[in-house]
């Protein structure tokens, strides 16, 4: 099954600047795709379209649900999105409550709180349950945001620069956590390590269009791909 199908997607900002131009991309379920490209090539804009936060011209289907106004909730239900910058992703004043808003509605407040603590434990963040997300370090903040989106158990993960501002140890920790997950992923990144350790495929974006889609082995042998990664 295709987890994501995008056909002829185009989008321009209000000032007329073209952000996406005729984007075509298909991702199969279970694949982890590293979306690479220069700054300003349209990676983040594409992720916002998939999540239904921007509304360009074209066809988008996520987990078999076609993008339309009436389907936005269903699409968002199947997607977990890690934004960049990550600090604006947090809604609640402490970590436990921030994870609670992602948990199923039928649970009682106490059950939600205990489940949130379990999620924090998985990410080694249980000592910060009552701390503000803004008090955490960059790496901890990324892990906390990730815990918040995974608690909803989405089928598709959109990750915008998940390793930004992280040191080597934190980056490896996040990669290890992500590699244990079975969800389909689209990861906007500049980091070579994401392609090497996590991705199964690489999509190359240039001037608002997808210019190449390769399996990771082939991608890492190409000069145009290597030049885009650090």
């Amino acid at each position: 099954m295709d987890a994501l199908v995008i056909k002829n997607l185009s989008y321009s900002y209000l000032d007329g600047k073209i952000a996406l131009s005729n984007v075509n991309l298909t991702i199969q379920e279970g694949h982890r795709v590293a979306l690479i490209g220069e700054n300003g090539s349209g990676k983040s804009t594409l992720l916002l379209h998939i999540n239904g936060l921007l509304d360009g011209q074209g066809f988008i289907e996520v987990m078999g649900i076609r993008r339309a106004k009436k389907n936005i909730k269903a699409i968002r239900h199947s997607i977990g999105c890690l934004f960049n910058p990550v600090e604006y992703q947090f809604i609640m004043p402490d970590l436990a409550h921030d994870i609670m808003i992602s948990l199923p509605e039928h649970l009682s407040d106490k059950e939600k709180y205990n489940a949130a603590l379990q999620w924090l434990k998985k990410f080694n963040l249980e000592q910060y349950a009552t701390s503000s997300p803004l008090e955490l370090s960059s790496g901890e903040m990324k892990k906390a945001a990730l815990a918040g989106i995974l608690a909803r158990e989405p089928a598709f993960l959109l990750l915008d620069e998940p390793l930004n501002n992280l040191d080597r140890a934190s980056a490896f920790e996040i990669l290890k956590l992500l590699s244990l997950m079975t969800q389909t992923m689209l990861i906007a990144t500049h980091r070579c390590i994401v392609a090497e350790k996590l991705a199964t495929h690489v999509a190359v974006m240039k001037n608002g269009s997808i210019t190449g889609y390769y399996n990771v082995k082939k991608a890492l042998s190409l000069k145009e791909v290597k030049e885009l990664l650090i």
Binding site: Y88, I91, M92, I101, L134
Partner: protein, 222 residues
């Protein structure tokens, strides 16, 4: 414990608003109670000083206006100024004294989801604004030699940039709300913590505020 703390906080606020018959007692009790709240809340004195800078400015303007032609100096005006500064400091101290748990406890009683979200985002924005101001101050020190006229560049560029950054952040917050709260309500599990320090401060504050309110309103001569 949150209820007791909230009750003591409101009693203290009410205390600042009563007409003071015995001024010296009123001032001493007010300062004493505010200091208890500040120090049991764990707010460092430097943080308190910096947060009070807008109040110093306000007091200076208030003072200058009192010397304008047609204005008269009176004890009542000084008392009003004192009360304004006091209420500001009580609110400031209460934020650290009641803490995040107290804030969540208050939110639990709000049934309107939109209002709850507004208050959550407002508190988050204020916290991030405070962080950004600190970051901007460091940026200013690194990039501009703060001597003489150079100081004028700070409000000219950095304040504008700070405000633009906050406005830009609304877009991110909106995206977070749309993608995380599309069909969920905000739920709060307020844990009811208990600490001897808090109990003592609540008892002292409530009894002192209540005693002073009684003395002031009954006009008992001491």
């Amino acid at each position: 414990m949150h209820i007791a703390k909230l009750a003591a906080f409101f009693l203290l606020l009410f205390h600042t608003l009563i007409p003071a018959q015995n001024l010296q007692l009123y001032v001493v009790v007010s300062i004493f109670l505010t200091l208890i709240m500040i120090y049991s809340g764990g707010m460092p004195s430097t943080a308190l000083f910096f947060k009070n800078i807008p109040m110093f400015f306000f007091a200076a303007v208030f003072f200058v206006f009192m010397f304008f032609p047609g204005m008269t100096l009176s004890a009542d005006k000084f008392l009003t100024l004192f009360k304004i500064i006091l209420i500001f400091n009580i609110s400031l101290a209460a934020s650290s004294w009641l803490g995040r748990g107290g804030f969540l406890f208050c939110l639990k009683f709000i049934s309107v989801q939109r209002l709850k979200l507004f208050l959550l985002l407002l508190s988050r924005s204020l916290a991030s604004f405070e962080r950004n101001v600190r970051a901007a101050a460091v940026g200013v020190q690194l990039r501009i030699e703060l001597t003489g006229k150079q100081k004028l560049l700070v409000p000219k560029y950095y304040v504008r940039n700070l405000i633009m950054k906050e406005l830009y952040s609304f877009q991110h917050s909106q995206a977070a709300l749309a993608s995380r709260l599309y069909d969920h309500n905000v739920t709060i599990y307020a844990r009811n913590g208990f600490a001897v320090k808090d109990l003592l401060s609540v008892c002292v504050m409530a009894s002192a505020a209540f005693a002073d309110i009684f003395i002031q309103t009954a006009n008992i001569k001491i």
